[in-house]
C-alpha cells in the first residue's frame, strides 16, 4: 500500500485496452490472408456496418441485464416489430422511396425509423409491466416468460401480416456503392456505420456525462446502493428497457433494409447473434457490446470469404475463444 496525501488526485482506474486492440489486430492479421487490399477494405467496411447494426440491437439487452439482472429472451421480438412497422410506412410512399433523391428518400426513411422506435418502445413498456415486473429476481421465470412473449409476438406478426416474406427495397439513392479506386463500398453500409457510430457516441455521452448515466452505471454496479440513496431504480430500469426496445426496433429497420426483406423469423435468427455479442462483451457493458458486435461481424465476413463452411459455426468458436480468455466476457462490469 502506498500512502496517499489528501491533496493527491484520485488514482485513475486502469484502462483495459486489450479488448479494443482485438478487432484491430484481427483486421490487420486478415490483410495477408485475404490477399487483395481492395477486397480486404470492402470486407472490413461490410463487417463494420454489420457490427454497428448488431450493436444497435444488442445494446439495450446488455444494459437491461446489467441494470436489473433481467434475462430478456424476447428481445428479438422488438427487432421484428420495428421492421414490420417500417414496412407500413414504406408501402404507401413507395414512389418517394424509389425517387432518386436522397432528401426525399430520407423524408420517408427517418419517419419510418422514428415510428418503429416509438412502437417498439411502447411495446417495451407493456412487456416490462406485464411480463417482467411480476418475475423480478427469478431468472428461470424470466426466461420462461420472455420466451412465451417471443412466441406470442411472433405469432401475432404472422397473424397480422401473413407468413410470407415482405420485400423491403432499399431507397434508390442508397443503392449502389461509392467507388474509390478499385474499392467498392456500398452506400447503405456507410449510412449504417454512421448511424451506429452516432448511437454508440450518444449512449456513451449519456452514460458518462449525465446524472442519469451516472445512476445507470451505478445501478449496474450495485443496485441496492443506488436504491439506498433514494433513487427509484425501477423507474430508471423501465426507461432503460424502453430505450433498449426502441433501439432494437431501429436495428430491426436497418437490418430489414440491409437484407431488403422482412420476416417474423428474423427475430429468432438475430436473437442468437445478439446473445453471442452480449456474452462476448460481458453482460452490462456497452463498450464490450460494441467490440463484441464488431468482432462477430468480422468473423462472419472474413470467415465467410476465406472458409465459407466455417462461417456456420464461427460465432460459437469466437464465443468459446473469448470466454476461454475472459470467462465473464471482455469487460466484466457486474459483480454477479
Amino acid at each position: 500500500m502506498t500512502e496517499l496525501a489528501a491533496s493527491d488526485p484520485l488514482p485513475k482506474p486502469k484502462r483495459d485496452i486489450a479488448p479494443i486492440l482485438l478487432p484491430i489486430a484481427l483486421a490487420l492479421v486478415m490483410i495477408p490472408l485475404v490477399g487483395s487490399p481492395s477486397t480486404w477494405l470492402t470486407l472490413t467496411a461490410a463487417s463494420l456496418a454489420m457490427g454497428m447494426m448488431i450493436f444497435i440491437m444488442a445494446s439495450g439487452l446488455t444494459l437491461v441485464f446489467g441494470l436489473m439482472d433481467v434475462l430478456n429472451f424476447g428481445h428479438g421480438a422488438f427487432i421484428a416489430v420495428g421492421a414490420y412497422i417500417a414496412t407500413l410506412v414504406f408501402a404507401p410512399f413507395a414512389a418517394s422511396v424509389q425517387a432518386d433523391s436522397l432528401l426525399v428518400n430520407l423524408a420517408v426513411l427517418a419517419p419510418a425509423a422514428l415510428l418503429s422506435m416509438a412502437v417498439s418502445g411502447a411495446l417495451g413498456l407493456v412487456v416490462e409491466r406485464v411480463l417482467i415486473l411480476p418475475v423480478y429476481g427469478q431468472h428461470l421465470k424470466q426466461i420462461l416468460m420472455t420466451t412465451g412473449g417471443l412466441i406470442v409476438a411472433e405469432q401475432t406478426l404472422y397473424a397480422l401480416w401473413g407468413p410470407q416474406i415482405i420485400p423491403m427495397p432499399l431507397p434508390a439513392s442508397l443503392r449502389g456503392s461509392f467507388i474509390l479506386g478499385d474499392v467498392a463500398i456500398a452506400k447503405y453500409r456507410v449510412l449504417a456505420m454512421l448511424i451506429g457510430l452516432a448511437v454508440f457516441i450518444a449512449i456513451q455521452l449519456v452514460l458518462n456525462r449525465t446524472k442519469l448515466g451516472l445512476l445507470i452505471r451505478a445501478g449496474v454496479e450495485n443496485r441496492e446502493m443506488v436504491e439506498a440513496l433514494g433513487y427509484r431504480i425501477r423507474r430508471l430500469f423501465l426507461g432503460v428497457f424502453m430505450t433498449g426496445s426502441a433501439l432494437a426496433g431501429l436495428g430491426g429497420v436497418m437490418w430489414a433494409l440491409y437484407r431488403e426483406q422482412v420476416h417474423a423469423s428474423m427475430s429468432d435468427e438475430l436473437t442468437v447473434l445478439i446473445f453471442v455479442v452480449v456474452i462476448i462483451g460481458g453482460l452490462g457493458s456497452i463498450g464490450g457490446c460494441f467490440i463484441g458486435a464488431i468482432l462477430v461481424a468480422m468473423v462472419a465476413n472474413y470467415g465467410g470469404f476465406l472458409v465459407p463452411k466455417l462461417a456456420l459455426v464461427s460465432n460459437i468458436l469466437l464465443m468459446v475463444a473469448i470466454l476461454m480468455w475472459r470467462p465473464r466476457g471482455l469487460y466484466a462490469v457486474t459483480s454477479r
Partner: protein, 360 residues
Amino acid sequence: MMILSGDPPRSRVLTLILVVIILALAATPFLFPGAKALNVAAKICVFAALVASYDLLLGYTGSVSFAHTMFYGIGSYAIAITLYGMGPNWAAVATGIVVGLPLAALLALAIGLFSLRVAAIFFAMITLAVASAFQVLASQLSWLTGGEDGRSFQLPELLRPGTVLISKNLFGFEINGRILTFYLVFAVSALMILALLRVVNSPFGRVLQAIRENRFRAEALGFRTVFHLTYANCLAALVAAGAGILNALWLRYAGPDTSLSFSIMLDILLMVVIGGMGTIYGAIIGATIFILAQNYLQSLMGVASKAASEAGLPLLPGLLHPDRWLLWLGLLFIASVYFFPSGVVGRLRHGGGKNAASSH
C-alpha cells in the same frame, strides 16, 4: 411402489388421469382405429420421455437449456444415418444406438464443462447458440444428413407394417410390424420415464433439488455441484437421444423439422411448464395435452376461423387460423407461468400454486 421409486402421484385425481392416459395409450391400436390415432399415441410416448428428461434439467436442477432438441436430433439422425447407410438390418440399429448415445453424452459433457467455467447465467444463452449452430450444421452437411430433406429409411423386416405377426382371424385384430413398433416405442419410453423417476428420487436427485434451491448452500454442504450438474446434463442428454431414436424409428425418417428445429424446443418448454416442473409425471400430462391440442385443436380452430370470417369479423379469422395455434399456446404458457407455475400436477397435488416447483 418399487416401480415408481417410492414417488407415487400423491393425488387421487392425478392418479386417475395418469392411469387413463397410460391405458388409453396402451390400447390405442385396438381402441382407436386408423393411422392418425396411432401416430398421435406414439408421438405422446416419445415426447413424454423427452419432456421428462428435460424436466430433470429444468425442474430438478433449475437450469434452462435450449440445446435439448440437439440431443434429440443426435439420436434421430444417428439411427437414420446408420439405417440409411447400412441398410435395414438390426446391426444398423445397434450401430446407431452405440454411436448416438455416447455422442450425445459427450457433447453434453463438453457443454456442461464449458458453461460451468463461465458465469452460470450464460448457460441458457450458450446452449441456445450451440443448438442453433448445430441445426445449421445438420442442414448444411447434406452428404451425411440429407440436408433440409432429411433421411428416409427402411426399418428391419420385423418392424415393417407388411409383416403380419398374428393374423386377423385369431383375435379379430391384426398384429403387424407397425403395431409391434408402437409397443416398442411405448415400452422403451415407459422404461426411460421410470428410470428418470428413479434418478430424481435417489440421493443424487435430492442433491439436484438442493442445488436448485440454493447452489451456494449445496456447495457448502460439501457436494461437488459441478459434478452433479454435469452428470444431470449427461443423463438428460442420454434420455433425449433415446427418445430421438424412438422418434426416428417410428417416423422412418429424420430431418431438421421433425428432430432439430427450435420450435420443438419451445414445444418441450411448453409441455414441461403446463404439465408441472419438477414432477416427472407432469411430462406425461404436458405431452398428452399439448400433442392432443396440436393434432385436434387445429381442426377446431379451422372451423372457428371459418365461422369468424363468414361473420365478417376483422382480425379474428387471422388469429384463429389453424396455423396460429401456437399463439394461443404461447398465451397459455405465459398464463401458466403467472397463475400456476407448478403446472397441472402441482395444482392437483397441492390444490393451489403455493408450492411452486422452482422459482430461481
